[in-house]
């Protein structure tokens, strides 16, 4: 068929037009074979601009449209819809990105114009080979999965359940609650963390739309937006959840109390059968098989003997639950970094050098010291305390993290204030690089610490902490404002260690094919405009998994993620991307290379009768499930015989683009 292609060059105000001679681009592209219409306009995406495209499609019976404008991620959909309204198949539209790839990155007008023309030619070459495609439909499973049962996961689940949808929370540890359950008080109001968290936990547990899978992990994810299939491994608790009454006798009687308490950050020990903390939900203990005498030696069985309900089950096995979901929210949260790279702070040498999270546990009434502020070495009350900020945050030497952990300035002010309030005779010094307190009532909070509680803030960094023979610590630092070296005695040193995403996120992101950045935070679909969505459709981000956040921010983002998930679950059908792979059975070897590389499990093999000139045989050939295929193209490049091709991005189209560029 004779091609009738229309070219539309956008100025994007001055975004493109200031660097690219748009008139020249129109003039040059008008000369390309098949081009019957070429024009430029200030804003192609505007209503007037779109009207121009629609009018040209109708008047000149265009068979293909090339829009030279911004990235297809911005307006491809806009122009496809515009074409569709004018009666042209939406997949007959190609975008030449002359903004992000030309005007924004080049200065020289002549060169930029030349490149814009070349990209336009490539798009024209491609559109000449486009074929009309039709989007299919897929169903939406009206159930959401939330990975992580911290405050982010709980809030997201509550909001989704509130909208009337079923939602499951998968939590790796024996109880929901997450990091927030370990905190003593919360800034800037200083209310007790457990007091505001526990009601939410109870609500999640009581909500009939919410199913909790604690002590469980996501094992396998397949499928796609609207129709994920997830295998959840329910680890063997060794306690029958349906029988256990949560009386706690087993934990009391357990003779092996030497396991380090994860909840108390290893500051004390717990029994081998345990619930992490008193308000744990579910209030059903688990047996830590690595520490349990029964599992280690075969002898003991005390818990089983004392359990009135007969709930102890040493034979219990891991269970795999397979469930379908329409949307998945990742809320895997954070941990603080390991301090191996920071030997100068003597964290490994002295029990009196602790992290802020350990201090939270020490300050907490349910913690290892019952809330008394004391040194872990000799249980004496400290007189001088030094807080060191930015341990591993804002790090430029590669030992720590380049980012600001965001919460440390505020929680350190909180710690300093609480200590000065409860123990007025304790001197508190804080070494900081900058104090960063943006947020509602945050700076006022910090100023109270300085002005009302006389916390000694020193701008400067600590070079070394030395444990002395008398059990004290010497802090060697620098005061940048007075420009002098400081050497001071301390009884306790508290390190504001950087936070980092939960290390499991790499595995989870791989299963979800969700992208992560260099710091292992999940990437948003758009940093500003789609901050709670992953670029992978149907995956949403909640809490610190996306970037450092405090509790109020986490809760707001958790709500936002829930709304996005609800928006998806509310749909009955989704349009599928027609740009999927197809196998040419005449060329297919049946070698399985494509199936091996397919991240979506979309390729299977069938024995099919193949008929061609001189051929009539049954061959093992690849078959693509177009509902599962996401059009990533991995199979097309892996296929040695070129039997796999991607609709809308065929090998021929791509070679035509390259040829046009190299012409």
């Amino acid at each position: 068929m004779q091609q009738r292609i229309g070219v539309f060059v956008c100025h994007c105000g001055s975004n493109i037009a200031a660097t690219v001679d748009v008139k020249k681009v129109v003039e040059m592209l008008a000369l390309e074979p098949g081009v019957v219409h070429a024009e430029d306009y200030q804003y192609m995406c505007s209503e007037v601009g779109q009207a121009k495209i629609a009018e040209a499609i109708k008047e000149k019976q265009l068979t293909g449209v090339v829009v030279c404008s911004c990235s297809p991620r911005m307006h491809e959909t806009t122009f496809r819809k515009c074409a569709e309204r004018a009666g042209l198949n939406p997949y007959m539209v190609e975008i030449a990105n002359i903004r992000e790839q030309v005007s924004w990155i080049h200065k020289d007008m002549e060169e930029a114009t030349q490149k814009a023309v070349i990209l336009g030619r490539a798009a024209i070459a491609k559109v000449s080979l486009n074929t009309p495609l039709k989007a299919g439909e897929s169903r939406v499973t009206k159930r959401a999965l939330v990975i992580g049962g911290g405050i982010a996961g709980i809030q997201t689940a509550l909001d989704i359940a509130d909208a009337g949808y079923e939602v499951d929370i998968v939590e790796k540890t024996p109880s929901i609650g997450g990091r927030m359950s370990q905190l003593d008080k919360t800034f800037p109001t200083l209310d007790c963390s457990a007091c505001i968290l526990t009601p939410k936990m109870v609500e999640a547990s009581a909500n009939e739309k919410i199913t909790l899978y604690t002590y469980s992990e996501v094992e396998k994810v397949s499928g796609f937006v609207g129709d994920f299939t997830v295998d959840i491994r329910k680890k063997a608790r060794s306690v029958d959840m349906s029988k256990c009454t949560g009386c706690g006798v087993c934990q009391e009687k357990c003779p092996n109390k030497k396991a380090p308490s994860e909840f108390n950050r290893g500051l004390n020990t717990r029994s081998a059968i345990y619930t992490p903390f008193a308000q744990a939900i579910p209030n059903v203990p688990v047996i830590d098989r690595e520490h349990c005498t029964k599992f280690l030696t075969g002898k003991c069985g005390v818990c089983s003997k004392v359990c009135q309900a007969g709930a102890i089950d040493y034979e219990q096995q891991d269970e795999i639950i397979t469930e379908k979901y329409g949307a998945i929210v990742v809320a895997t949260g954070f941990d603080i970094i390991k301090l191996d790279n920071y030997g100068e702070y003597a964290y490994d040498q002295s029990p009196d050098v602790i992290t802020s999270l350990e201090l939270e546990r020490i300050m907490n009434a349910a913690g290892p010291t019952k809330g008394h502020l004391e040194r872990m070495s000799d249980h004496k009350a400290p007189k001088n305390m030094v807080f060191i900020q930015c341990v591993g945050s804002r790090c430029s030497d590669g030992r720590g993290k380049s980012y600001c952990s965001k919460i440390c300035c505020m929680y350190t002010a909180k710690h300093a204030m609480l200590i000065r309030d409860k123990y007025p005779d304790v001197n508190v010094t804080v070494f900081y690089i900058d104090v960063r307190t943006p947020g509602k009532n945050f700076d006022e909070f910090y100023r109270r610490a300085v002005e009302d509680y006389h916390v000694n803030y020193i701008k400067g960094q600590v070079g070394k902490v030395t444990p002395e023979a008398d059990g004290s610590l010497t802090v060697h630092g620098v005061d940048l404002i007075d420009n002098k070296q400081i050497k001071m005695k301390a009884d306790m040193v508290v390190l504001a260690a950087a936070i980092e995403p939960n290390p499991d996120i790499r595995k989870i992101a791989t299963m979800l094919t969700a992208s992560i950045d260099t710091n292992n935070f999940l990437t948003e679909a758009h940093a500003k405009l789609r901050p709670v969505e992953s670029p992978t459709a149907g995956i949403f981000l909640s809490g610190v998994t996306q970037g450092p956040k405090d509790i109020p921010e986490t809760v707001s983002q958790a709500g936002a993620a829930a709304v996005k998930a609800i928006g998806l679950l509310a749909k009955d059908k989704l349009l599928t991307n027609p740009c999927t792979a197809q196998a040419d059975i005449m060329a297919c070897n049946g070698c399985s290379t494509c199936a091996n590389v397919c991240p979506y499990g979309a390729i299977s093999y069938e024995d099919k009768e193949v008929r061609g000139p001189g051929i009539r045989e049954v061959r093992r050939v690849a078959v693509v499930n177009s509902a599962l295929c996401q059009g990533c193209g991995a199979c097309t490049v892996a296929c040695p015989s070129g039997a796999m091709d991607l609709q809308g991005f065929s090998n021929r189209q791509i070679i035509a683009e390259v040829d046009a560029i190299c012409r």
Binding site: N589, G590, T593
Partner: protein
């Protein structure tokens, strides 16, 4: 050799197999060729000597489509190719009766010629249990050279005397490795980019696009090669410039990367003597370094390093840095 013929006769007679895949004498005494035998009479032409370098694995693709079992003779290094073909579903294990044959390294007539021996009529002492010295009958009288000095380049980096797959084994094999597998690759890596470019330019300029390397390669087993496909503009095309000379071989190397067992057939059959295996061996060396030691065809179950993902995979930036 007689033992192999006897085995073939026995299996044909008792109906275990309906044909035999082996080698028969070619036009020249040192040029035996792969052949199918269906009767006892046919088997009179069967040979197995030091010049039977041809890897018979690939012929099993067609044999798998025929009715009945085929007896195939495989040398230790051929079994890697056979395994790789099983893994890619190109041959049917059930259609093959594999006799692993002994090998003490295979011979290259050019290696004898390179020693200044001209007018060769025949070579004696090439059989499996033959002497360490070859006697070469020439127009100018008898000459001798050592067996090892006449071996194919690939036999100097022998993968070992074990058969990776076989129903039975006849004859003793010998590990003939006396050189480092990657030394030649390292020498190319050590060149400056310019020298390297010139080196490959010089090698590939010799290519006449006869497609022998592709046709013999057990990894190049596509039903329809991209270079024969009308879906691309490259079908049946003679090289018109140096870019196209390189394109064919570079694309071929990419297509077999992670699947090439380093059987060396490409270099053995190249009429222009291009060291084609260097491309493949460079990929093998890189794959070993980036993704851990991997020998294609050693294990039917193992996933190829380029079609597998593990958390320990090297980051793309490192691959890029090291070129």
């Amino acid at each position: 050799m007689q033992e192999l013929i006897n085995k073939a006769k026995e299996l044909l007679a008792n109906g275990t197999v309906v044909r035999v895949l082996g080698w028969r004498a070619g036009d020249l005494s040192y040029n035996p060729e792969p052949a199918f035998f269906e009767t006892e009479e046919d088997l009179q032409k069967f040979v197995y000597d030091g010049f039977c370098g041809a890897n018979l694995s690939k012929y099993m693709i067609e044999a798998s489509k025929l009715d009945g079992k085929t007896l195939v003779f495989l040398k230790p290094c051929d079994t890697y190719s056979f395994n790789q073909l099983i893994k890619e579903h190109r041959v049917d294990r059930e259609k093959a009766y594999i006799v692993g044959v002994g090998c003490r390294g295979k011979l290259d007539i050019d290696k004898i010629k390179e020693q200044g021996i001209k007018g060769i009529e025949s070579v004696e002492g090439t059989e499996l249990d033959g002497p360490d010295t070859l006697t070469i009958k020439t127009l100018y009288g008898d000459k001798t050279c050592s067996y090892a000095s006449a071996m194919l380049g690939r036999c100097h980096v022998c993968k070992g005397k074990e058969h990776m797959i076989a129903d039975e084994i006849i004859g003793e094999s010998k590990d003939t490795k006396d050189a480092e597998r990657f030394d030649a690759v390292k020498a190319v890596e050590a060149m400056s980019p310019e020298e390297r470019f010139n080196f490959f330019q010089k090698e590939l300029r010799k290519c006449i696009r006869c497609n022998a390397c592709r046709n013999v390669c057990p990894a190049c087993s596509c039903r329809k090669c991209v270079f024969d496909s009308n879906k691309f503009d490259s079908a049946q095309k003679a090289n018109v410039d140096s870019f196209e000379e390189k394109m064919f071989h570079v694309i071929r190397a990419f297509h077999v990367a992670g699947r090439c067992t380093d059987c060396g057939e490409c270099s053995r059959v190249c009429p222009q003597g291009i060291q084609l295996h260097l491309f493949n061996r460079k990929f093998i060396k890189d794959i070993n370094e980036y993704y851990g030691e991997f020998q294609a065809g050693a294990d039917i179950e193992a996933r190829g390093p380029l079609t597998n993902y593990t958390f320990d995979d090297v980051e793309p930036s490192i691959v890029k840095e090291r070129g």
